[in-house]
C-alpha cells in the first residue's frame, strides 16, 4: 500500500501538520498499556495495524441479565486497508465498532479488552479504552471518523451544508475562518458535489448527496480511519455503486483505512480487502474477499453468500438462512449457529468458537470457527443447497 506515490505524499502531508499534535499526545500515549513501544512506531505507520482490537467484549446490562453483544473479538485494521464486517442485524457489528470508539452509552458496557490506536500523527500506540475525555475528544473525528447509516437523521436539518462542514472543521482543527470556508468548499469537490450546494439544506439534497455530505464531513479532519456503518443501505443501487466507487477513489488518494459495516456480503466481496463475518457477537470467519468468495468455509458465511440473487450467470438455487439469531441473553452452548446450520451435528455443542486456520486453504490467515466444515465439504442434504458458488469460474 505505502509503496504507491499517492499514499506516500499523503503521509508527508499529514506529518507536516501533525507535528504539534504529536507532542500533545505524548503524555496520553505514555499512560497507555504499550508505553514501551519503540520510536520507530511513532515515525512511520510501520507494520503494526492502525487499529488493533483485542479481546473486546461488550454487554448490554438488562434486569434479566447481561446480553453478550460482542464476545471476545480480535480485529486488526492495517493502514490503507478496507476491512468489511458482515453480519445480520443484531450480530453485534455496530456495537463492536462503537464500543471500540467508546461511543456506547449505558446499558452498554465494555467489559473486557483493549483497543490500540497507532496513527501517523500520534506519538505512539494508545489504548482508546483507557483514554481520558480530553484525549478522546482529540481522537474522535481527527483520527477516527464515522459515516452513519441514515444521513437524513445524522445531518442537522436546520443547518446548511456549509455550516455543518464548518462545524466539523472548527470543532477539530484550528483554522482561520476564510481558510475553513475554502476547506469546506474543497471537501465538497472531493465528494463530487458542486460548490453551489454549500448553501443547500439537507432536505434539498437527494439521499445520495446527503450521504456524500456525510462522507465529506468525515474527511474534514483527514482521519486515519473511517468507520462506515451501512453507508449505502438506504440508497438505490445506481447511487450506491457511485458512492462506493467514490469511497475507494478517496481512500486510494488520501490513504485512510476503512472499517465497513454491512449486512450485504455481496458489497464487501467487491469492496473489501478482508472480510470478517460476525454472528451472535462472535467472529465466525475471517479471510480475504477472494477467499470468502471462492472457498468460504463456515456454514454461516456460505448461507450469507447464498442469500442474494445474482444478476449474472445462470440462475442458481437460492437458500437463504432459515430461522433467526439466538437470544444473546441466554446463548446456547457451543456454536451459536448450530440451530440454523444445515451441517449441524451433536459435537457442535462443544465447539469453543476459536478461530483456526482452514486446513485446505493456502492462505494461513483464512480462519474459521467451525472445526467440521471445510470449503470442499459437500452441501448438506435437504432444501438448502448451500454452497453452489462456482469455484471454477475465477482464475488466480
Amino acid at each position: 500500500m505505502s509503496a504507491d506515490p499517492a499514499a506516500d505524499s499523503a503521509i508527508g502531508r499529514a506529518d507536516g501538520r501533525a507535528l504539534d499534535r504529536a507532542t500533545h499526545r505524548a503524555t496520553g500515549a505514555a499512560a497507555g498499556p504499550a508505553a514501551g513501544s519503540s520510536l520507530a512506531d511513532a515515525v512511520a505507520p510501520g507494520p503494526g495495524p492502525v487499529l488493533d482490537i483485542r479481546d473486546l467484549s461488550v454487554v448490554y446490562r438488562t434486569p434479566a441479565g447481561d446480553v453478550r453483544a460482542v464476545d471476545q473479538v480480535n480485529l486488526a485494521l492495517g493502514a490503507g486497508e478496507v476491512v468489511g464486517l458482515a453480519g445480520e442485524s443484531g450480530s453485534g457489528k455496530s456495537t463492536l465498532a462503537y464500543g471500540a470508539c467508546r461511543l456506547l452509552r449505558a446499558p452498554a458496557l465494555v467489559t473486557n479488552g483493549s483497543v490500540t490506536y497507532r496513527g501517523r500523527r500520534v506519538s505512539g500506540p494508545a489504548d482508546i479504552l483507557k483514554m481520558r475525555p480530553d484525549e478522546l475528544r482529540r481522537l474522535r473525528w481527527r483520527e477516527i471518523a464515522i459515516v452513519f447509516q441514515s444521513a437524513m437523521n445524522a445531518l442537522n436539518p436546520v443547518l446548511n451544508v456549509r455550516d455543518q462542514l464548518l462545524d466539523a472543521i472548527h470543532a477539530h482543527l484550528k483554522m482561520p475562518r476564510d481558510e475553513a470556508h475554502e476547506r469546506a468548499a474543497s471537501l465538497l469537490d472531493l465528494v463530487g458535489i458542486p460548490r453551489s450546494r454549500l448553501r443547500s439544506y439537507p432536505h434539498e439534497l437527494s439521499g445520495g448527496m446527503r450521504q456524500r455530505v456525510m462522507i465529506a464531513m468525515a474527511l474534514a479532519a483527514e482521519p486515519e480511519i473511517i468507520i462506515m456503518d451501512e453507508p449505502t443501505t438506504a440508497l438505490d443501487v445506481v447511487v450506491q455503486r457511485d458512492i462506493l466507487a467514490q469511497i475507494v477513489e478517496l481512500k486510494d488518494r488520501l490513504g485512510f483505512s476503512i472499517l465497513f459495516i454491512t449486512h450485504d456480503l455481496s458489497l464487501l466481496l467487491e469492496l473489501a480487502d478482508r472480510i470478517v463475518v460476525m454472528y451472535a457477537g462472535q467472529f465466525v470467519e475471517i479471510a480475504t474477499s477472494d477467499e470468502i468468495h471462492r472457498e468460504a468455509a463456515h456454514p454461516y458465511t456460505r448461507g450469507l453468500l447464498n442469500s442474494f440473487p445474482s444478476l449474472r450467470g445462470s440462475r442458481r438455487e437460492l437458500a437463504g438462512i432459515p430461522g433467526s439469531p439466538p437470544d444473546l441473553g441466554h446463548p446456547p452452548p457451543g456454536c451459536p449457529f448450530m440451530p440454523r446450520c444445515g451441517y449441524a451435528r451433536p459435537e457442535c455443542r462443544d465447539v469453543d468458537m476459536r478461530l483456526l486456520p482452514v486446513a485446505t486453504s493456502r492462505d494461513p490467515d483464512h480462519v474459521t470457527a467451525c472445526p467440521f466444515v471445510l470449503p470442499d465439504t459437500p452441501a448438506p442434504p435437504g432444501p438448502s443447497a448451500a454452497s453452489e458458488s462456482p469455484a471454477g469460474e475465477l482464475g488466480t
Binding site: 438505490d236 477513489e249 455481496s266 469492496l271 440473487p309 445462470s314 440462475r315 437463504g320
Partner: protein, 357 residues
C-alpha cells in the same frame, strides 16, 4: 402510447385480474408547477403471476402502487378489476375494493401500530372483511400459520417492538391476506430486511402467490431479486415505463440504456476483476450523477433519461419515445435501440441474436 401490442410475460400464468390503463398522476407543487409522478403507465396483473416494477427512488413506482391500491386519486387513466372499471365513490365501495386489492408496505417498523398487539392487527381486518359470522380467533391463527408465524399463540399477544423485522413483515403479510384479496401490491416488501432473511420472505410471498393464486405487483429497486421472483419486469424511470419484458430476458439482455445502467450497478461478486477494488470507477453504460427530471417546464422535453444517456442526441432532447415493440413480449422506449441493444432489434440482419438463456 399504445403498447398493448406487447403481451405480458405474466399472461401465461393465469386469467387477467387487474388492468392499469394509461395511468397518470400529477402532484401540484407550488403555483403552476406539477410533478408528473406517473406518466401514461399501462400494465396488467394476472392471477398467480408476479409483475415487478423496478426503478430508483423517485421513479414513481410507489405512486403507481398507491394508485392501484386506491390510496391516491388518478389524474387520468383507468383501472379495471376483473374487467370492471373501478370507481370508488363511497366508503363501502372503498372497503369492497380493499377486500380485493391489498397493499404491503416497505417499512414493517412504521406500518404496524406500536400500541396494538399482533392479535389486534389481524382481528380487525378479519372482522371488517369477512363479515360477522367469521370465526375470528380461528381465522387469525390460520393466517399466522400461513405466514409461518408459529406457534401462533406465542405471537398473538406481542407488540410490534417485540418482533424482529422479518416477523413484523410477516404480520403485514397476514394482515393483507386477512381480506382474502385477489391482488397483492407489495411495495419493497423486503428491502428493509436483512439480506439473509430476504430470500425467506420472498419464498414465503411466492408460496402465498401460488396458494391463493394472487396477482402480485412486486415493487423493488433490486433488479436481481426481480429476476428470481417475477415473471415480467417493468422498468420505470421518471414516471414512465421505459422497458418491459420477461424477467430473465430483461435482466440478461437489457435493451434500454437505463436498464443497462441498473444491471451494471448491481453488486457482482462473480466479476471481481473489474470490481471497485481495482481502484477506478467501473464505467457503466450511463452516468448516475443526474436526477430524473419529471418536473414541469423545459426539463420535461424529450426522453426523460436523455441527460444521463450516452446515446442521447437532438431527437432524444426533443421528443419522448413511446414504448417500441422488440418482440411479442418485450418493449423499450428508446429512439436508439439499434445502437443501445443492437443484438435485440436488428433481427434479420444479424445471426444468433437470441442470446437469452
Amino acid at each position: 402510447m399504445t403498447e398493448q401490442t406487447v403481451t405480458s410475460a405474466a399472461a401465461a400464468r393465469g386469467p387477467l385480474a387487474m388492468e392499469a390503463i394509461s395511468l397518470s398522476k400529477d402532484f401540484r407543487i407550488g403555483r403552476g408547477h406539477a410533478l408528473h409522478a406517473v406518466r401514461d403507465v399501462s400494465f396488467n396483473l394476472y392471477r398467480g403471476a408476479v409483475v415487478a416494477l423496478v426503478g430508483e427512488s423517485g421513479s414513481g413506482k410507489s405512486t403507481a402502487a398507491r394508485l392501484l391500491a386506491g390510496q391516491e386519486r388518478l389524474t387520468s387513466g383507468t383501472i379495471r378489476l376483473d374487467g370492471k372499471q373501478v370507481e370508488v365513490s363511497s366508503r363501502g365501495d372503498f372497503r369492497r375494493y380493499k377486500s380485493e386489492v391489498q397493499l404491503v408496505f416497505q417499512d414493517p417498523f412504521s406500518s404496524l401500530n406500536p400500541i396494538h398487539t399482533v392479535r389486534y392487527h389481524l382481528e380487525r381486518p378479519v372482522k371488517l372483511h369477512q363479515g360477522k359470522d367469521a370465526k375470528v380467533g380461528q381465522e387469525v391463527v390460520t393466517l399466522m400459520e400461513q405466514v409461518r408465524l408459529t406457534p401462533a399463540k406465542q405471537f398473538l399477544a406481542k407488540y410490534p417492538h417485540e418482533l424482529s423485522g422479518g416477523q413484523r413483515q410477516r404480520v403485514s403479510f397476514a394482515r393483507a391476506l386477512a381480506a382474502r384479496p385477489s391482488v397483492l401490491l407489495a411495495d419493497e416488501p423486503v428491502s428493509m430486511l436483512d439480506v439473509s432473511i430476504r430470500l425467506e420472505m420472498l419464498s414465503l410471498l411466492d408460496d402465498l402467490r401460488q396458494r391463493f393464486r394472487l396477482a402480485m405487483l412486486y415493487i423493488t429497486h433490486d433488479i436481481a431479486s426481480a429476476r428470481y421472483f417475477a415473471d415480467e419486469i417493468l422498468v420505470m424511470y421518471a414516471g414512465e415505463i421505459v422497458e418491459r419484458g420477461p424477467a430473465e430476458e430483461v435482466t440478461q439482455v437489457p435493451a434500454h440504456p437505463y436498464t443497462q445502467l441498473l444491471v451494471a450497478s448491481a453488486p457482482d461478486p462473480d466479476n471481481l476483476g473489474s470490481a471497485l477494488r481495482g481502484g477506478g470507477r467501473r464505467q457503466g453504460p450511463a452516468t448516475a450523477s443526474e436526477r430524473p427530471q419529471n418536473l414541469d417546464g423545459a426539463a420535461t422535453q424529450g426522453c426523460p433519461f436523455n441527460p444521463r444517456c450516452p446515446f442521447a442526441d437532438d431527437l432524444c432532447r426533443r421528443e419522448d419515445p413511446a414504448l417500441m415493440q422488440i418482440s411479442d413480449t418485450r418493449g423499450a422506449a428508446c429512439w436508439h435501440l439499434d445502437v443501445a441493444a443492437p443484438e435485440l432489434v436488428s433481427g434479420p440482419r444479424r445471426g444468433g441474436d437470441t442470446t437469452t438463456t
